[in-house]
Each structure stands twice: as structure tokens, then as C-alpha cells.
């Protein structure tokens, strides 16, 4: 990718290459993300419709495939209402504050061995920092709207995100102990091999906790009390309309993609093949299945995305005290205990880590 882009922009002065190449990579990634988010909305509706035994969107385009584009156009030609009591500047800044971290997190995510925008050492730390930053979009949206429902939603959401971020952070520590690096590429490399070499087996509780807190962090069902329709209308974005709402919407779906991708990378071996190192496929015509590829990552990500929808269709919304209880009293103890277990495993030299 890098070489290709370098050759492509060969005509530019050499100093600018280091700006142009990442820029082009970013554009490619952003287009993919936005398209992904658009189709994700469509799939969500289709999957849930399937589970409800309905048809779902089927009017726009063949079998409804262009539904999301119609939605996007609709959203953009709608009026952006800024309520009269709202703090105008913050009201319009809040959506940006939730979009920017959601997108910028992708900078450190490798999609295969070579495609990564910023290969920094402290990748996971960067991700955690950005995740913690995303709470501001919600809080400020709620405060700036100057509406009671929005404010309540923002407060709920902030306390919830805060609780689940700790569980998430502890789960990440477990991954780090196993992977021995903060760099996501290195973590995938530490899992090289087939499905039995991935971290989901030694870190099963953390895998579970991470995905659940990921759902809670993105304010998705069944943890969506921040926008619980039946209680506080639409929560923190009750006053948002048109393009401003679209930004929140985009951020939410990009975050879903992010959580699914991260879970795949950290616990399911990223782009490694399910069959890597398998003796049965060796030297057969199916040997190509053992190669690592971005497609494997796509399969894993799709599975987690499907799980997002599946959970949404299956579970009723949690009550708020139950959410807090789950976060503080179930997930955090599990992660702390498992970190202790990992420490013991490390001392006893069992597990995936290499003792130097």
C-alpha cells in the first residue's frame, strides 16, 4: 500500500510524500468506514427484521440496499434546529467531539500486516485515551441542549461509560500481559497460529468482559439507557436534528465497527486464519485458507457486528441500577481476578507468554 501510494505520488516533491501518503490512506479508510457504517445501518434493520419475522427495508434500490443513502440524504436536507435556550457553540461542537475520537481511533488499528496509518508503540493506550475522550460528546450535548431529557441522558450515559471504561481498561491489561506489547500488530503477532492459539481461550473472561463493556461504551442495546426512548425520549440527542444528528449517528456506528474490530484483533487473532497451521489443509487445494488475510478479519468483525444486532433483538433494556451493578460488581471483579490468575499463570509459566 505504502509503496503503491509512494509511486503514485512520485510527481510531488519528496518532502510532501510523508504527508500525502498517510492522507490518502486516511481518505481510503474514511470512505470505507462511512460506507461500512451506512451498510451497517441497513444490515441492522434487516437482521432485526429477520429476527422479528418481518421484511425490513425493501423499497430503495434492489431489495432495499440503498436505504441508508436515502436516509443520509434525508438527514442532510433536514433543518438543523438549535434550541433557543441552548448554548449554540457547544451545541454544535458536541457532535464533533463524539465523531473525532470515534474516527481517530482507527489511526492505530492495523487491518492486515501492512495496512496501518500510524504504527505507534502505545497503540492500546492511545485507544483507551480516545475512548475516554468520547464521553465529552455526550456530556456536552446534554448540557448544551438545556433540556431536561438531554441532561438526564447525558448524566446517565457519563456515569455508565465511566463504569464500563474501567472494566474495559482492566481487560486490556490482561491482553497486554498476554501479548507483551501495546502495539496492536504485535498483539496479533503474538497470537499467530490457528484458532486455538488466539487469546480468547486463555483470556476467555476478559474477552467476554471486553465485548460487553464495548457494547456499553457505545451505548448500544441492551445498555442504551442514555437514549432510552420509553424513559427520556431520546436522551442526550433529543434536541438534535438533521446533519448534527447524523454526526452522532455516524459516530455510534463507527464506534460499533471499532469495538468489533478491536475484539477481533485482540482476542480472535485479527487477520490470522482460523485454519493456520492445520495439518489437514496442508498441501491440499485448500491451502490458501491458511493464509492470513484481511478477509478473515472481515469475517470476525461481521460476526461481532451480528452479535450486536442479535443482542439488541433479544434483550430488553437494562434498568439503570442494574447496569451500574453489572459494571462495578460483576465485570470489574472478574477482570481483577483474572489479572491475578494471569499473574500466577505467568509465574508458573503456563500460557501464551514468552518468558525471556
Amino acid at each position: 500500500m505504502d509503496e503503491f501510494l509512494t509511486i503514485l505520488f512520485d510527481f510531488l516533491p519528496p518532502e510532501s510524500i510523508r504527508f500525502v501518503v498517510p492522507f490518502m490512506k486516511i481518505i481510503i479508510l474514511l470512505v470505507a468506514l462511512i460506507l461500512g457504517a451506512a451498510f451497517l445501518v441497513f444490515f441492522e434493520r434487516k437482521v432485526i427484521a429477520f429476527m422479528h419475522q418481518r421484511i425490513g427495508p425493501n423499497r430503495v434500490g434492489p431489495k432495499g440496499w440503498f436505504q441508508s443513502f436515502a436516509d443520509v440524504i434525508k438527514l442532510f436536507i433536514k433543518e438543523v434546529i438549535v434550541p433557543s435556550n441552548a448554548d449554540r457553540f457547544l451545541f454544535l461542537t458536541a457532535p464533533l467531539l463524539s465523531l473525532i475520537p470515534a474516527l481517530a481511533a482507527w489511526a492505530v488499528i492495523p487491518l492486515n500486516e501492512t495496512f496501518i496509518i500510524a504504527d505507534i508503540d502505545a497503540g492500546i493506550l492511545y485507544l483507551l485515551a480516545l475512548t475516554s475522550f468520547s464521553v465529552y460528546g455526550v456530556i456536552l450535548a446534554g448540557w448544551a441542549s438545556n433540556s431536561k431529557y438531554a441532561f438526564l441522558g447525558a448524566m446517565r450515559s457519563a456515569a455508565q461509560m465511566v463504569a464500563y471504561e474501567i472494566a474495559m481498561g482492566f481487560a486490556l491489561v490482561g491482553v497486554l500481559m498476554a501479548g507483551g506489547s501495546l502495539n496492536l500488530g504485535d498483539i496479533v503477532a503474538a497470537q499467530s497460529g490457528g484458532i486455538l492459539h488466539w487469546f480468547w481461550i486463555p483470556l476467555f473472561p476478559l474477552f467476554f468482559v471486553y465485548f460487553i463493556s464495548g457494547i456499553a461504551e457505545t451505548n448500544r442495546h441492551p445498555f442504551d439507557v442514555a437514549e432510552g426512548e420509553s424513559e427520556i425520549v431520546a436522551g442526550f440527542h433529543v434536541e438534535y436534528s438533521g446533519a448534527a444528528f447524523a454526526i452522532f449517528f455516524l459516530a455510534e456506528y463507527v464506534n460499533m465497527l471499532l469495538i468489533a474490530t478491536l475484539t477481533s484483533i485482540m482476542f480472535l487473532g485479527g487477520w490470522e486464519s482460523f485454519f493456520a497451521g492445520s495439518n489437514y489443509l496442508m498441501n491440499t487445494s485448500l491451502e490458501f485458507l491458511m493464509e492470513p488475510s484481511i478477509l478473515w478479519l472481515a469475517v470476525k468483525v461481521s460476526f461481532f457486528l451480528f452479535t450486536f444486532f442479535w443482542l439488541r433483538a433479544s434483550f430488553p433494556r437494562y434498568r439503570y441500577d442494574q447496569i451500574m451493578k453489572l459494571g462495578w460488581k460483576v465485570l470489574i471483579p472478574i477482570t481483577i481476578i483474572w489479572i491475578g490468575v494471569e499473574g500466577v499463570m505467568f509465574l508458573a509459566n503456563v500460557g501464551p507468554w514468552k518468558v525471556a
Binding site: 492522507f23 486516511i26 434546529i81 434550541p83 435556550n85 474516527l103 504504527d119 431529557y149 465511566v162 481483577i336
Partner: protein, 118 residues
């Protein structure tokens, strides 16, 4: 090392630009009339009686404080987890004591009811 952070800077600017673009597109295409009722905050059809920014339960602050403490703990755990191979048994024991102290704190929170939400 710094070289690796340049794309992040570019990415942040691009993301900001994208957000601003979306907002301005919304203002550009989205036309409509602004009426007083439309611009008032959403509140069941009534005019709101008071400012929406009301005081709320002290419990939220407690949660935020506890979050800071645990966040710091995570910040300590990160360098520990990646240097496990280098610090040896003594390092692992050190973190064991540290975690033990904080687990005692966690038990205290739990038993005192600071984690209850009612």
C-alpha cells in the same frame, strides 16, 4: 517515534474537517422556518419552568472520583503488563501488593454501599 504520530495529527485534522463539512452541509441544504415552538426545548408540550441544568445526586461525583482512582490504577497496570518479562518475580509481587491494597479499597466501596445505585 515522532514520525509515527504525524499521521495521527493528520487524521485528527481530517476527522475535524469531515465533521465540520457534515455540519455545514446540513446548514447549507437544510432550510426551514424557525418558529418559537420549534426552538423551545422538548418538554411534553409545556414551556419549561426552570433551567434544565439542575443539581443532581452527589452519587455521580462519587462515581467520578472512584473512576479517577481506578483509571490511575489502570495507568499503573499498563507499563507493568508490558514489562512483565523484565521486572521478574519481584515486580510481579510488587503489583500483587498494590492490587491487594486496592482490592481492599474496592471491598470497602462495595460494603459501604458506594456502588449501590438507588
Amino acid at each position: 517515534m515522532l514520525e509515527n504520530y504525524l499521521p495521527i495529527l493528520i487524521f485528527l485534522s481530517v476527522a475535524l474537517a469531515l465533521g465540520l463539512l457534515m455540519l455545514s452541509l446540513g446548514f447549507l441544504f437544510g432550510r426551514g422556518s424557525k418558529t418559537e415552538a420549534k426552538l423551545s426545548p422538548y418538554e411534553c408540550g409545556f414551556d419549561p419552568f426552570e433551567d434544565a441544568r439542575i443539581p443532581f445526586d452527589v452519587r455521580y461525583y462519587l462515581v467520578a472520583i472512584l473512576f479517577i482512582i481506578f483509571d490511575l490504577e489502570i495507568a499503573f497496570l499498563f507499563p507493568w503488563a508490558v514489562s512483565l518479562n523484565k521486572i521478574g518475580i519481584a515486580g510481579i509481587m510488587a503489583m500483587g501488593i498494590f492490587l491487594l491494597v486496592l482490592v481492599i479499597g474496592f471491598i470497602y466501596e462495595w460494603k459501604k454501599g458506594a456502588l449501590e445505585w438507588d
